[in-house]
């Protein structure tokens, strides 16, 4: 099951009922997936295919069967548009068999999910350590900067961050040593 399935399906059903906000959110998210999907396959022409597929999703939206996975429905259309483009350009029209997860694998939505996971993990740290880890490891501040801002030595910052990460590593059951 694709992580975003439930959310996208909800938006789709709301959109089918006429909810413009949910629908435009859905299309915006899908365009991210589609852009990554087509860019890996046709390169420069990707944006045309993104738009063509969005229009297809829009005009064919009444054919979506709510009993079936929405992501698979979108993937079927994207794949069809890709094959159609290959045929138009007289290119070899074989697209490897793949599943819907392929379409939804690499994109911003996935990154957002990863960010959520990181935040969940960080929440397990005490507030001061959490802020420090976020500043140094996520927001890219330097150790010197943070030491100065907090009025402690750089060594303290370094050790605190190191220990925090180590405890998170143990939390995950792994052996994070950096």
């Amino acid at each position: 099951m694709i992580a975003a399935e439930a959310q996208y399906r909800d938006w789709m059903l709301a959109g089918l009922g006429g909810d413009r906000t949910a629908y435009s959110r859905l299309l915006a998210q899908l365009s991210g997936h589609l852009r990554a999907y087509f860019a890996r396959r046709v390169g420069a022409d990707a944006e045309d295919l993104v738009q063509e597929t969005l229009i297809a999703i829009h005009t064919k939206r009444a054919t979506y069967d709510p009993a079936l996975p929405f992501t698979a429905w979108v993937h079927g259309i994207a794949r069809y548009k890709l094959i159609d483009a290959f045929r138009r350009n007289k290119r070899r029209a074989t697209v490897p068999l793949e599943d819907a997860p392929e379409l939804f694998a690499h994109d911003e939505a996935e990154a957002a999910a990863a960010r959520r996971d990181v935040e969940k993990l960080l929440a397990k740290l005490p507030p001061q350590k959490r802020d420090l880890v976020r500043a140094v490891k996520l927001e890219g501040h330097s150790i010197a900067e943070e030491a100065k801002a907090r009025g402690v030595s750089e060594t303290v910052v370094k050790v605190t961050v190191h220990r925090a990460l180590k405890s998170l590593g143990q939390e995950l059951g792994g052996h994070s040593e950096n």
């Binding site: 959109g15 089918l16 009922g17 006429g18 909810d19 413009r20 629908y23 435009s24 299309l27 915006a28 365009s31 852009r35 944006e47 993104v50 738009q51 969005l54 229009i55 297809a56 829009h58 064919k60 939206r61 009444a62 054919t63 979506y64 069967d65 079936l68 698979a72 429905w73 979108v74 993937h75 079927g76 259309i77 794949r79 069809y80 159609d84 819907a100």
Partner: protein
């Protein structure tokens, strides 16, 4: 046009989607196709003269049940294949059921002592049966392909075969009101040939007839 503008445009004039859209489009296409096919049969061939008598017996209904079961499965197939990514495995496998049932009856009739086996298989109209079925399926081809184009078939060859099967089965159902043959071997061989040929034609024309 930029993609963000396109999204704003598409969601800007969003109307609620019509409910049961797929079912209604297909019902409209198939209903109209049946009607036109029946008119064609009445004008070009005419109903069998002993229709009332035949409807009192079992053979007529066996023939009609055979063709209508294909029409039903064909409709199911098209309903699935008209949606992106829906599986059509179940109706495809079920196509074997009417064939096997009729095959059993056909074997029983064929093995019965003292029958004219040549007549059982060839009847009086084997030369025209499949061709007539294809002729009567033409209007249904047009209306069902029209309906399918309004849906979202993504596997065109399969969808075309399903639509052809539906058109052939509808044509055969209409033809059953004209044709006087009544033996199971005849129906099994010649009706199935007509319907299967329609499915093949449907698959063959799918590339350009269904592209969207």
């Amino acid at each position: 046009m930029k993609t963000d503008d396109l999204i704003a445009h598409l969601s800007g004039d969003l109307a609620p989607a019509p409910p049961h859209y797929v079912g209604r489009v297909l019902a409209m296409g198939l209903g109209l196709g049946f009607l036109l096919s029946a008119i064609l049969m009445l004008m070009a061939m005419g109903p069998r003269p002993d229709l009332a008598l035949a409807m009192a017996g079992g053979a007529f209904w066996m023939k009609l049940a055979y063709t209508l079961s294909f029409a039903g499965l064909g409709l199911w197939l098209v309903e699935r294949l008209g949606r992106s990514d829906a599986s059509a495995r179940k109706p495809t496998l079920l196509l074997l059921v009417p064939v096997i049932l009729l095959l059993v009856v056909a074997v029983v009739q064929f093995m019965a002592p003292g029958v004219n086996r040549h007549q059982l298989v060839m009847g009086d109209s084997w030369r025209v049966c499949a061709i007539d079925i294809l002729t009567l399926s033409v209007p249904v081809f047009v209306t069902v392909f029209w309906a399918l184009r309004k849906l979202a078939p993504t596997r065109l060859t399969l969808a075309g075969a399903g639509a052809g099967l539906l058109a052939g089965a509808a044509g055969a159902s209409v033809y059953a009101f004209h044709c006087v043959e009544y033996t199971a071997p005849f129906i099994l061989i010649w009706y199935t040939t007509g319907i299967a040929a329609a499915a093949l034609i449907g698959a063959g024309i799918s590339r350009w007839a269904l592209r969207w």
